[in-house]
Symmetry: C2
Subunit: 208 residues, 2 copies
């Protein structure tokens, strides 16, 4: 695969694109890691499929929708399930991890608007209800599957979870896995994969 | 496949479960169409994967997350893409159709709360901006692919779109495809598939 076959276009952020970068690095697939600013995005937006980033381009064809792209890359680098039912379990977990990310958006908005009162109110619910509800369930699944989301083995659900935890942590300014040692162990395991570890060491430093 | 292998659990609604029912009918797969009320749901909820409906059960294993289940069923009844790239295109379109559905939620809430002012304000934006933005793009794709979302053939993206239009129509009390003849033609084509047509004739009548 030559370096010009695949191009990822996103802002200079980890956020919604970082799982794609991890998967491409994991599969030793070369890609153009195009990072654009707001002005470039304004110029590009009208020519995108649905006005959204990140964009994934392969052999001149372009798509958006991050989870769809991540699933495609997960299959490409052999991190999909062993059969259709495992793929269903991965897809269901990933959409649930995405749901949790979406539940943090009102808090992120309150933070950006510097609305301290709203921020405190939402953070209280997130920390006492939302995060524990999901993280406890995720941890049970990971314990049951010997350190992974799906049957004792690495899948793209593990990678997606790892990069999403970085989003949760950045939004909430804390380590959300502090009380979840088995989830933290899984995240560390993903980040210790040599090609991913090497990427983390050289990638642009960004808050989100 | 015996009738007890597969069970779908949802409220007595089309909404998030109807694509699953269409796909199961399309594949002539028998299933238990379990419709529960609020009281039954309260009792069941703590024992579900993530406290959400619909639930899909096969051979005693249970999952939630509607799009994940729909993708699984799409593959089961041979309505997936011909290759990984087509599957990516289907997944990206389906998540975009879901995004449009999610954009109607604030309006649906204003309607339920009988907040006329908020309702009018949101409906105005939906009808003048949101729906045309997506529907025009969807129609271009369907025209380009000779009446389908993906290369001249029926896929689960077409089925998902068809049932989602029923959601848009029910929420907005109108026919959103009135000015989109090619999309309407696609919806009619799906509803004329004999097994789906037969299902529409006998299914419980519900508003949503």
């Amino acid at each position: 695969m030559t370096s010009t076959n695949i191009k990822l276009t996103y802002f200079n952020m980890k956020s919604l694109a970082e799982t794609m970068r991890y998967l491409l690095k994991y599969g030793n697939i070369e890609f153009i890691d195009s990072r654009i600013d707001g002005e470039e995005w304004s110029a590009l937006k009208p020519n995108t499929p649905f006005g959204e980033l990140p964009l994934y381009e392969e052999n001149g064809k372009v798509v958006s929708q991050s989870v769809a792209i991540i699933r495609y890359l997960g299959k490409k680098v052999n991190l999909a399930g062993a059969d259709e039912w495992e793929d269903l379990e991965i897809d269901a977990l990933v959409d649930t991890i995405k749901d949790l990310q979406i539940k943090l958006i009102p808090y992120a908005h309150a933070k950006m608007a510097d609305n301290k009162e709203k921020q405190e109110e939402l953070k209280q619910i997130i920390l006492s209800e939302t995060m524990p509800y999901y993280l406890k369930k995720f941890e049970s699944i990971v314990i049951e599957n010997n350190g992974h989301f799906i049957k004792d083995k690495l899948t793209w659900a593990d990678i997606y979870f790892t990069t999403n935890v970085d989003i949760y942590n950045a939004v909430l300014d804390m380590d959300v896995l502090e009380k979840y040692p088995d989830l933290l162990k899984l995240k560390n395991k993903v980040e210790e994969i040599p090609s991913i570890k090497a990427w983390i060491e050289v990638r642009p430093e960004t808050e989100f």
